[in-house]
Symmetry: C2
Subunit: 671 residues, 2 copies
């Protein structure tokens, strides 16, 4: 592994930062990534990816048109899946995600949903015969599938999806139909141009009776010509904020017939006589969503880490302003407290979220094991946690990336920085796989139920909620950051969460006493409910972080992880001032010390900032940012980069001959 | 004028919203836009723009490649400037901005800097002979100019710009030179491909002595062929987050010679013998920046208003979820308190910022008049205010637009919503024309100086700072939103600002007592200093708003403006909880009532939300958003919109033949 990122010819400022750091980058990198062996594998995979000609982009993708990007991605995804045996495919969370990001960058591709939704849904919903038929087709890539749930007018409330599948027992077929414009299937990745199959959730109608949403597997393009089959209208949904290389699509059915056996029948069944057999368990379905949300935590944390890395490295080589006596150079912008304040709290968040990702992965693995043994104990806990993490983390990550981008000044707006792409890629996580507000309200539902149980002394509490039973603390013990113990900080998080959760519960009661229905009261209190969920999740993450770093045995690393943990805690307290001062749990004086603590820790972390982000172990390939280059030689590389601009292919654009030239000529004739 | 936006065939939900509103949209629109006459002119200009064939886009620009957009913009800017006499060109703030936005949309163009920087700088810096020569060329559009200050490695600290202009008295010329990569001129709009002239700030060197930054006017492309002249390297800087139709450029000088008379000589002069004559007044230059910042306030406010309009109209027609008893339809998402909380505080901000824009315009006009009479009294005040507004408003606007975008769910990510473009266009305002943090620290410099003067009883206070002299209030009088008087709310803003400003002053003193140099102390306190500036500006804006609405005489409009003013105030207090609870000025109970007040006002504004945004008087053309269409018929229009996608030009992409087809065929052969 690389113990040292310094190389001859590097920018002097960045080299000095590395020379001046107080700890071993290799050791911190190993702690972050779960050991030396994991780190070695990262480098091995990187080397492999860089050695494969068909994994390379002919030009940086940001200079390609959408069509070129879609084509480039299609080429690469075939190459990638051809060679996927190089990695441990069972390790989706780490090797899988890493391998894909090295090759595909910050975009999805023609087969994203094939792997994340199509195959898992077949595995989860198909009966044995269906499994035998469809799984080999999908796994050998004989077909490309996607998952088309969302409709133009319907997202979260899936019970109101409009697409119908009406059983016709004369022909033993289902007739799929899009009964209105708002029923058009919309958004699915790979649906527009790449896939020839899709899993379609639709309302099952038998003899005029609606049996509710069921899943159907549907071929909609010809295998040989790839033309849409009769009765199908399908296409791309146009340009989006991010993922330009992905053909998100729409799909309209016009009385489109599929065989009866194309309804997935592991749980419900329709017999050839039209008899409907309802599922035994009505709710064993969210496995796929939980899986995707769990993976998202790590991906999101890495996106934030990438943005922080770019901003910190660039701030080390960018010089601006003069206030340091005796220097004939301008100041490194990383020396400005305002700049540190913009970036370093998000550096701390990257660590907390990355360690949360490890925890979620472990929990997911445990649940999967239990489930295969028929134990469902932890399913609900994982569901609540993954919803909450997803909502809290995606939003913090989006804010953090955007702050990092703004901290890079003008160059942060250019695609040369990589940051616009990181932002648009990551922020979508606030919406897909469960809109954040909806997720927070799910967590709140759980919390309010828990409080009710506690108050009726009927509590059988999940581990994650047990602190709600704890004694109420009236005053925070916090004095100054140096003396703050973890136990005290955790107590602060717990009490702030308790105060927020219980006061929201009271508010709900109050609203109902004022003659609101439970639904109306819930709606009126919903902003406070979201805040309660947020505090609950933030509390959980702070506890996890401190537990995790307690495993570290290297003093030089412990020092850094401690500073990061305290910065994270104080910054979170300061951001959620309202909840931490609730019931006067923290005083004005304490809050002032929280703020001063933040400023002082920023100063303590400053000298190690570059080394800390070096420990994320991003290669230039993975980071894909001229501003964030390892070597710090940014400006020369920017000049190289702009040579790819399509406007620079000719010295004089046609605009001159057509419009600007004649205008100026006419102007000159008037002088 | 349109009194009513209801038309046959509109979406039923949006019609019902309009039918149910409590006030006249026409009256509120007139109040917002400064009277019936201004509103009439808006509609006249809109009609004119829609009638001109050469102002139209062949396809929606979001479907064009960068090259196509640059070309389309060049075509339109020539057409626009050909017909600019239709509007009152002296009214840049309103008619000018409006006319341009209707034609160019949310992008800049080849001549943006020609008008905003090139001509104003000639007017401000050229001596009489230079004025006679250059101004007619610029005004008749015989040349296209830009302003190239920023360099690859230098932004805010302009004294360290590296480009040199060395006087060669043998030939009576200046030699312009780019001495290093980081000295490359970078970012200027229109520099890359469109302009043939630029104003270049460069270090003036005479006989080896650096006389500091001066401005030079430079031709760098051939007038007939448009080819770069020998000694010039120039080009486009590549794709950015927004403004794809603008050719922001770079420029490198290789010992490039220009005549002596091309240095602007209104203030400094260089004689042919090399003698340098320094300017009498060293600082009369920021006129152009102040002008641009003042205009930005209105533009930014309108961008936020547009985002809010889109989000509210869409939330009225989007239905999702079921909790209203007796309804067989899903709930309009605008009924969710969380959705209201995401959007309506920004609706309130739009009003506050728009009214601030009017105030800034008035102040700017007064200063311009005074200046032409030699009075400089208000210049500094305008400078401070415009810096502060720019910093506070651009950041709030960016946050608000992004919240509106997120509130539109999945469709907010698609360019069909218009929101990604609004965001990327507006957020750049945080950085250009003075980076926000730098702006806030300038305001803070003024505030700290003021406190010092007050404490030394030597205060000659600017009007905007006079409240700092007021008596300290120890407890807020706020009880509940219904009974809160404006005077009380203003007192809260003033006291919170005072507390933040004075405590920051004390913190600075404290740090210096701890042996930090003044510069170090300033840096350590800089986050608090920014917060002090922010509170100062927020206080000013709240006061302006309440003053402005006091002019309104229509009861039905007053009711709405009151609700908006209270929502703005309470939401700001809640957001800045830390500062408002400082020194226990507000208690836990009061802060709780602030929060409940917000939730209750949201409910009060809900029934009028659509009518309020209708009052911004956006046409579909100006809004440029399928989600925000007046008629609410969103889904059908989305299906129409996607037909423009370049991926939909053929049913089958080449990716099938080249990559995906062979992959699937090979897969099938394995089954």
């Amino acid at each position: 592994m690389r113990h040292n990122l310094i190389e001859p010819g590097d920018n002097e400022d960045i080299t000095n930062e590395r020379l001046g750091s107080s700890f071993s980058v290799g050791k911190l990198a190993a702690f972050i990534h779960g050991g030396e062996e994991k780190l070695r594998r990262r480098h091995e995979i990187l080397e492999f990816v860089e050695s494969q000609e068909d994994f390379q982009d002919p030009i940086p993708p940001e200079f390609m048109s959408r069509k070129e990007r879609v084509e480039n991605n299609a080429r690469k995804i075939v190459a990638m899946t051809n060679k996927v045996s190089f990695i441990d495919q069972s390790d989706v969370f780490e090797e899988g995600l890493f391998f894909q990001s090295l090759i595909m960058g910050r975009d999805f591709h023609a087969m994203s949903l094939h792997y994340s939704m199509f195959i898992p849904t077949i595995q989860g919903q198909a009966d044995d015969d269906q499994l035998d038929y469809w799984l080999p087709l999908a796994v050998t890539r004989a077909i490309i599938g996607t998952y088309a749930q969302t409709e133009l007018g319907h997202g979260t409330n899936i019970s109101k999806l409009e697409t119908t599948a009406t059983y016709d027992h004369k022909t033993d077929e289902f007739v799929l139909h899009t009964p209105s414009v708002s029923a058009t299937k919309w958004w699915s990745g790979g649906l527009g141009k790449s896939s020839n199959h899709a899993i379609i959730p639709a309302q099952l109608i038998i003899n005029g009776s609606n049996k509710g949403l069921h899943m159907f597997i549907v071929q909609f393009r010809d295998l040989d010509t790839h033309m849409p089959l009769p009765g199908i209208t399908v296409g791309d949904i146009g340009p989006k904020m991010g993922i330009p290389g992905t053909d998100n699509g729409f799909l309209i059915f016009n009385n489109y017939r599929i065989p009866r056996k194309n309804m997935f029948m592991r749980y419900s069944k329709v017999l050839s006589n039209g008899e409907y057999i309802a599922p035994k368990h009505s709710k064993l379905r969210y496995g796929t969503m939980v899986f995707v949300r769990s993976i998202m935590v790590r991906d999101q944390a890495m996106q934030l880490a990438a943005a922080v890395t770019i901003a910190i490295r660039y701030s080390a080589i960018r010089r601006q302003g003069e206030w340091k006596p005796g220097s004939n150079k301008e100041v490194q912008i990383l020396d400005y407290r305002t700049q540190q304040y913009r970036i370093l709290p998000y550096l701390a968040q990257s660590f907390v979220f990355l360690f949360t990702a490890t925890e979620v992965k472990d929990l997911y693995m445990r649940v999967s094991e239990q489930l295969s043994a028929g134990i469902t104990e932890l399913v609900h806990e994982l569901h609540i946690l993954s919803s909450g993490f997803k909502a809290v983390i995606t939003w913090e990550v989006a804010k953090g990336i955007e702050q990092c981008r703004l901290a890079c000044g003008g160059h942060g707006y250019s695609h040369v920085s990589g940051l616009p792409e990181i932002y648009s890629f990551a922020v979508a996580g606030c919406t897909y796989e469960g809109e954040n507000i909806v997720m927070l309200l799910q967590v709140a539902r759980f919390l309010m139920k828990t409080v009710k149980e506690i108050q009726s002394s009927n509590a059988h509490l999940a581990e994650i909620a047990r602190y709600l039973l704890g004694d109420k603390k009236y005053k925070s013990r916090f004095r100054v950051w140096q003396t703050a113990k973890y136990e005290d900080l955790i107590e602060d998080f717990e009490q702030a969460a308790r105060n927020q959760i219980y006061s929201t519960f009271d508010y709900l009661q109050q609203l109902q006493k004022n003659n609101l229905s439970p639904e109306e009261a819930w709606n009126c209190a919903s902003v406070e409910l979201c805040q309660a969920s947020r505090l609950h999740i933030l509390c959980f993450m702070a506890k996890s972080y401190f537990l995790k770093i307690a495993q570290c045995t290297e003093p030089e690393i412990i020092r850094i992880l401690n500073l990061i943990g305290k910065l994270y805690s104080l910054h979170t307290i300061s951001t959620h001032c309202y909840s931490f001062r609730k019931a006067d749990y923290m005083t004005d004086e304490q809050m002032k010390n929280v703020k001063c603590g933040i400023y002082e820790i920023l100063g303590k972390l400053r000298p190690d900032a570059v080394a800390i982000v070096d420990s994320f172990d991003f290669s230039d390939r993975e980071l894909h940012s001229v501003l964030g280059r390892r070597d710090g030689n940014v400006y020369a590389a920017m000049l190289e980069w702009v040579k790819h601009s399509e406007l620079n292919k000719t010295e004089v654009l046609s605009t001159f001959k057509k419009f600007l030239g004649p205008m100026m000529e006419s102007g000159r004739s008037k002088i």
